[in-house]
């Protein structure tokens, strides 16, 4: 699941250098040598982030960004430029770029800024794998592999979340009672909620270990 980066740079030497560095970090890099090609690629093969030189043939860098933004493309963009005045930077950022780096720059800093762009683009709520789908504790939902989304109640989510945090581990009823069902007295609640989860997500999500308790996954 490597991030895809679109590099729009007309200086062949610099482009090759950046391509090599980015590829070395594990990114999938696509290169464009002019603004027109960059625009076309950005629209047809959406990337996770873009690096755009400001001085480009065909379509100028800031113009390229403005055109993308006006078409609803929200890909984070870092602008490279030799122009270093405050006014230039303000202009670049207000054109819709996320970041602005002036030449000359050090590769390590560029890489750090690219990581910052991607982190924001790709980051999302904590997600836990459960058989047949992905549990999202923030939204209290499970997005199933078939695309359907299942809503969970607070207790259902807490129960599944605890099991999913330690796949393979067997939790005893008393343990689950303590951690999930604070105020209950009878251990039967656990059974009931296991039942609820199975009814919503299939029998495979939780398996019973007779005499011991429950565990994530099919036997």
């Amino acid at each position: 699941m490597s991030a895809r980066i679109l590099l729009v740079e007309d200086d062949a030497d610099l482009a090759r250098l950046l391509d090599r560095a980015l590829t070395g970090e594990g990114y999938a890099v696509t290169r464009a040598g002019d603004g027109h090609t960059g625009l076309h690629l950005a629209l047809t093969r959406p990337a996770d982030a873009m690096i755009v030189d400001r001085g480009l043939p065909a379509v100028e860098g800031l113009d390229l960004i403005a055109r993308l933004r006006s078409r609803g493309v929200g890909t984070p963009i870092l602008v490279l430029s030799a122009r270093n005045s405050t006014a230039d930077r303000v202009e670049g950022l207000d054109a819709g770029a996320e970041d602005y780096l002036t030449k000359p720059f050090e590769l390590t800093e560029l890489m750090a800024r690219v990581r910052a762009l991607l982190r924001r683009h790709l980051d999302h709520a904590v997600q836990l794998a459960v058989p047949g789908g992905v549990l999202d504790l923030d939204h209290r939902t499970v997005r199933r592999d078939d695309g359907a989304s299942v809503e969970l109640s607070e207790r259902e989510a807490a129960l599944l979340g605890l099991l999913a945090a330690r796949p393979g581990t067997v939790f005893s009823r008393s343990d689950l009672l303590d951690r999930v069902f604070d105020e209950a007295e009878s251990e039967t609640v656990v059974d009931t909620y296991v039942h609820y989860c199975r009814r919503k997500l299939g029998r495979g999500v939780i398996s019973t270990v007779r005499g011991l308790g429950y565990r994530l996954g099919a036997p």
Copy 2:
């Protein structure tokens, strides 16, 4: 519906200067003088963006960022620092910051970078997708897919706009109260306006997450 910015800066003079400049742009600014207070405010009253000085008393700037990130707080953060080496900038960005600006800086550039942060987070796009139509914040209307146009009041538009800016995110009542209903005291206003939106646009526009709050879209 102005953006909220949390400013964590121990230099009182600089803090006052920045506060005045940001407020002048229409942002709602909250100030913290040390890292500990900043951490607490960031967790209890989530902002749309943060500006954090690197050298802070109580909890150091990068430490503050790391702690927030480890708790799942994704608010975009701009770091201010007197340390200007490439290694310092890389360190700051890799700690989880979105941007890194070194002192001395010009106010206009800081403002442009703040705008870039906010653009990402609270998409300033005039038109936002809502289930069954498109929300136009300028005209405070929703153009529905069937062609009909629905007018919204100021609060209705603000509420829908906030939810639509982050599809999928669950907003708590207290959060919505702070951001949309500045002067109200009872959280039930939120319920009432959710009801108004649903009556105008159908039950599918906003879904309830029991015990947590509301979210854009149908379950």
